[in-house]
């Protein structure tokens, strides 16, 4: 008995001395005399894997159905019905996760982090809508994406914003996409999920700030239809560019446009391009001049953007937890140096509560050098990422300017293939029969 106690005490001491010790057996397991049976530890199992593939199947089927409804049946009512279904299934039942918009981050993290395993279902969620858009236009936006479907319900009194405001606000999604890819690929943060305005509503658990944000978005959606889709959605950038090269696309009229102008104000998203029939007044020298300006402007903006991005890399990396920890550790080691210098003098003033990060760092037994090495690796990645991010934004802005400089000529009312969500509202306004 005494020997047993000694052993217990010794093991306790040994355990107390080692810093990373966990779960020390201070008290032996009792030997029960009564007929007591020890309960089993309950560990609930996660959602079954096949359900993830069920989501992919539902996505595929709804993409097919919506595409057929938009291109063949040309029925706004049925598209609307599908959007209610998507809102119910992908929104409120699946609670907005996994979604194609967020899948951008998983894909970019998987590209740069070897240890991150990307499930096949997430790859499919990322790729399937893009492939459909490449052939049929943005039918995903029309009624499959729960965010679009949700905002679509609120578009009561849409006001035209004018092409200038549309283009300027149209830069925001590029910024959001660039930042999201930068933060995801450096393993810092998934900002699309974090600042997702609707997921809090789907789950009935939004924080007050996010609820305010989503409330403002939805209410402004009464006048500015689908504000998130048009001026924030990062996946929309990819869909916009794939849709421009789509094989087929929703057309306003099933036969020939008679320019009755009935559809002119039908689009809540300013995605109908009105005819510009004045023959291009551009003289050849002026065109050459414009092209020259663009040829200088594009590389300049790309480089300027890249330079700005690389200057900002420390600020951007500041939200990374590894960089934050290194900063705190550095501050503390400097503080200790100061303490040693004026030893004995008013040591009471330096009594400060340690942050949990520092406590955990001390408990983990990591060396200071390793913390700094990890942080400097992150900083390096952010430096390269900052160049690429800035360059990308510069390119987006110069393409926007270029797009506005180029002369246009069209005779009919047509949908803007990039911006059109294929919601099929305009179809009902066209008097022509197929």
């Amino acid at each position: 008995m005494l020997r047993k106690a000694k052993v217990v005490i010794l093991t306790c001491l040994a355990a107390l001395l080692s810093p990373a010790a966990f779960a020390i057996q201070r008290f032996p397991k009792p030997e029960f005399e009564s007929a007591y049976t020890q309960p089993q530890t309950f560990i609930p199992s996660p959602r079954a894997e096949f359900l993830a593939y069920l989501d992919v199947v539902v996505l595929l089927i709804s993409l097919c159905v919506v595409t057929w409804l938009v291109l063949k049946k040309r029925s706004r009512l049925w598209v609307f019905a599908m959007s209610v279904f998507s809102l119910a299934y992908f929104g409120f039942y699946r609670e907005g996760c996994v979604c194609s918009i967020g899948a951008i981050q998983n894909v970019s993290l998987a590209l740069f982090d070897n240890s991150f395993i990307l499930p096949l279902s997430v790859v499919l969620f990322f790729v399937l809508p893009l492939v459909f858009t490449l052939f049929f236009g943005r039918t995903f936006c029309a009624a499959v994406c729960p965010f679009g479907a949700f905002q679509d319900l609120f578009a009561f009194k849409p006001q035209p914003l004018g092409s200038r405001l549309n283009t300027i606000l149209g830069i925001l999604p590029y910024l959001y996409l660039g930042l999201a890819v930068l933060f995801a690929s450096t393993g810092t943060d998934f900002i699309i999920c974090r600042y997702d305005p609707f997921v809090g509503i789907f789950r009935f658990n939004a924080s007050f700030g996010m609820f305010l944000f989503s409330g403002i978005l939805l209410l402004s959606g009464v006048f500015i239809a689908r504000p998130y889709c048009r001026f924030l959605c990062p996946y929309g950038v990819l869909l916009n560019w794939t849709s421009r090269f789509s094989r087929k696309h929703l057309t306003i009229t099933p036969s020939e446009c008679v320019q009755c102008r009935l559809c002119e104000n039908s689009c809540p998203y300013d995605a109908i391009d009105i005819p510009v029939t004045t023959k291009s007044p551009e003289s050849r020298p002026s065109m050459v001049k414009k092209l020259m300006i663009l040829a200088i402007l594009i590389p300049f903006l790309v480089l300027a953007g890249g330079f700005t991005g690389s200057r900002l890399h420390e600020t951007l990396a500041g939200i990374d937890s590894r960089v934050k920890l290194a900063k705190e550790v550095l501050a503390i080691s400097k503080g200790i140096d100061l303490k040693e210098k004026n030893a004995g003098k008013n040591s009471n003033s330096e009594v400060q509560e340690e942050s949990y990060e520092i406590k955990a760092y001390k408990a983990s037994g990591k060396t200071e050098a390793r913390v700094y090495a990890e942080a400097s690796l992150v900083l390096k990645r952010f430096y390269v990422g900052g160049w690429l991010f800035g360059g990308f934004i510069g390119l987006a802005i110069s393409l926007m300017i270029g797009g506005r400089m180029m002369p246009v000529y069209r005779t009919d009312y047509i949908t803007n293939k990039g911006r059109c969500f294929s919601c099929a509202r305009c179809v009902d306004y066209c008097p022509m029969k197929p």
């Binding site: 779960a23 029960f32 560990i43 894997e49 996994v98 240890s115 499930p119 999920c193 955990a360």
Partner: protein
């Protein structure tokens, strides 16, 4: 292809049958984007399918991350879920407040096999409690989720009411400091939404959160046992 170009530019009679220059360029771009998407998704699937994702070819001695690596198990499971490692957890209390679920998907889990069935339970009573009874003012748990039941002299059984537990970790801290450490925080996957990026993991001060294979979703610790099993797993991989 040259014919496509000509027909578009010259505007001959075949213009309606033959695609014009713009359409041809569109087709070209479409093909390009399709190929890029195919390469991207194919590469991603291929990489995570047969272990090409390991940069060092599973030679763990060359890799600095081998302590926290769960790649072999992940490749086997194909699906990952979030879990926190109780050995790294410092019970800061953020699990209770940072989860997208409220109350949190993190709950206290009792590894009964480790429990000492103490009368003076460090996880149940506030420090300095004199009378060991079930009075609310003596309890550490803010929600009365930890239940105390007499078994036989001098042993008491402690169970967790999961409906009430908010995952604050106060009892875990007490049990770890004064007891055997049988109370441990674990994600309960019936509540966990398995978010893309766990919002607790982002705020965890001790980086205790990892993605674990879905077929082994628990990281409950016992006395030194699983440390042993972990090293043996690595040994096998090196061999």
């Amino acid at each position: 292809m040259a014919v496509f170009w000509k027909s578009g530019c010259e505007g001959n009679d075949n213009i309606k049958k033959m695609p014009n220059r713009r359409e041809f360029l569109n087709t070209l771009m479409r093909g390009g984007i399709l190929a890029a998407l195919g390469l991207l998704s194919g590469g991603l699937v291929f990489r995570s399918r047969d272990g090409n994702s390991c940069f060092y070819g599973f030679d763990c001695s060359r890799c600095s991350k081998s302590e926290s690596c769960n790649l072999p198990a992940a490749l086997e499971a194909r699906q990952m879920v979030w879990q926190l490692d109780p050995a790294k957890c410092i019970q800061c209390g953020r699990c209770a407040t940072n989860c997208v679920m409220s109350p949190s998907a993190v709950k206290c889990t009792h590894a009964f096999a480790m429990c000492g069935y103490c009368d003076l339970c460090g996880g149940y009573f506030k420090p300095g409690t004199k009378t060991l009874d079930t009075a609310a003012e003596h309890q550490l748990c803010p929600t009365n989720a930890l239940k105390r039941k007499f078994v036989e002299d001098p042993f008491f059984e402690y169970t967790i009411d999961e409906q009430l537990c908010i995952g604050c970790g106060k009892c875990v801290k007490g049990c770890g400091a004064f007891g055997n450490g049988s109370l441990q925080l674990q994600v309960h996957h019936d509540r966990c939404k398995n978010c893309n990026q766990c919002s607790i993991a982002r705020n965890c001060p001790s980086q205790a959160w990892t993605r674990v294979p879905a077929n082994k979703p628990s990281l409950l610790k016992s006395f030194g046992k699983d440390r042993l099993s972990e090293t043996s797993r690595k040994g096998e991989m090196n061999a």
